[in-house]
């Protein structure tokens, strides 16, 4: 027997504000609501209120987790918050959440700045902390408010992204085998420019010049302060790296494809998921999708999908899952999760 990391419970928080395809249709006359749904698989996106931050969403998700009763705030000895929309440049949002959640001051806390690959990366950190004996009960939070980066007239991203948060309790358990892992990772910073908010950091501080709006060749409006996605490059990257990553992980884990019950991929949009599913020849019943009512919630998509699988009873008996995250960085990662 050894000390291993396992997921004890997961909870979510989606903000009340909604952006529907009907709302978007009014802004983009060339894209009727039916076309947006057909391409993206998304009907509604949660949108944070102007005064509602990723920290607020993460706090609400953590409180929903505690309300479920499996873990209490006083049990938590480490907080990991994955976000790309921190409440402040500094201090660390996870530190603020320690106080707001009533987690003991003996706990560690840190933020991880990753997007769509972030949940799997944070699971690897949680596993490392627990299996090395450094922590026993980790509150893994994912929260983002990409809507605040997006120009209202940029349909290339506004149709996809939604705001949301999740809270996962990763705890120590004495067992023969770890429920989490192995992992494979990947990074290609040469593609940083393909999914980026160009201004607002220190490389290019926000200014009157960076706020100047322009219209691109696909009739989208944005400024350098807004989120930009080169859809073609991101699609090419995904189709290239994800199948390779899946094969690499199967190889590393010594597993055959038919030994995986479900492939839980980052929920980018229906079109991309379908392209990946076709390419990897995975039956649709083995690739759960949760995107219609929430949109692409960045690092929250994988845990949100796990929650819907739990609710549907798909995980009533022990199952072996492969989780695959991929996106901004460019960054990707995959792991095996027994749950």
């Amino acid at each position: 027997m050894a000390t291993t990391a396992t997921i004890a419970d997961i909870a979510e928080f989606i903000p009340e504000g909604k952006l529907s395809n009907q709302d978007l249709e009014l802004l983009y006359p060339s894209w009727p609501a039916s076309k947006i749904y057909e391409k993206t698989g998304i009907q509604n996106r949660g949108i944070a209120a102007p005064d509602q931050t990723a920290g607020d969403l993460a706090q609400a998700a953590a409180q929903a987790l505690f309300a479920r009763g499996k873990v209490r705030a006083e049990d938590v000895d480490f907080i990991i918050l994955c976000t790309q929309a921190p409440d402040h440049v500094l201090p660390t949002t996870a530190c603020i959440l320690q106080h707001r959640l009533g987690v003991p001051t003996s706990a560690g806390a840190l933020d991880v700045n990753l997007g769509c690959s972030g949940y799997v990366y944070c699971l690897s950190l949680a596993k490392g902390l627990i299996e090395s004996g450094a922590a026993n009960c980790i509150l893994l939070l994912t929260a983002d408010t990409y809507s605040k980066y997006i120009h209202p007239l940029d349909k290339s991203v506004r149709t996809l992204f939604g705001d949301g948060a999740t809270a996962t309790a990763v705890i120590a358990k004495e067992a023969e085998r770890s429920a989490i892992g192995p992992f494979v990772f990947g990074t290609d910073g040469s593609g940083a420019e393909h999914l980026i908010v160009p201004a607002g950091g220190f490389r290019r501080p926000a200014s009157a010049e960076s706020a100047e709006e322009f219209r691109d060749g696909s009739d989208n409006v944005r400024s350098a302060n807004n989120l930009y996605m080169n859809g073609a490059e991101v699609m090419a990257f995904t189709l290239r790296e994800v199948p390779r990553t899946v094969d690499k992980l199967l190889d590393k884990a010594g597993l055959a494809r038919d030994q995986i019950d479900y492939f839980v991929l980052h929920q980018a949009n229906r079109f991309m998921l379908e392209a990946l599913r076709k390419k990897m020849k995975i039956p649709s019943e083995q690739m759960p999708v949760r995107i219609e009512e929430v949109g692409n919630t960045v690092s929250s998509t994988i845990p949100l999908t796990l929650i819907s699988m739990l609710q549907l009873g798909l995980l009533d008996t022990e199952k072996r899952l492969m989780l695959v995250g991929f996106g901004v960085g460019l960054s990707w990662s995959a792991c095996i999760l027994t749950i």
């Binding site: 989208n220 073609a232 390419k279």
Partner: protein, 76 residues
């Protein structure tokens, strides 16, 4: 090419029988925009197992231009 033509017809929102090398990418109901290019990248990867870059595809004017890119990529 038939699977490819079928996919292109769906992307451009035109009838499949109207797709040939001379078909103007800007003639359909749907714009030859970033979404159409993304869709075409996935379609070509599926049909021919080659990956084209977005900028070259954006610059295409006809289905024949795309087919020339596919041919070049397959020979490369």
């Amino acid at each position: 090419m038939s699977e490819f033509h079928k996919g292109i017809a769906e992307i451009l929102e035109i009838d499949e029988s109207a797709v040939n090398a001379a078909t103007d990418l800007h003639a359909g109901e749907a714009a030859w925009d970033s979404l159409a290019v993304v869709s075409t990248i996935a379609l070509i990867d599926d049909c021919f197992n080659v990956m084209l870059d977005g900028q070259s595809l954006t610059n295409c004017n006809t289905v024949g231009d795309i087919e020339a890119l596919i041919e070049a990529a397959r020979k490369a």
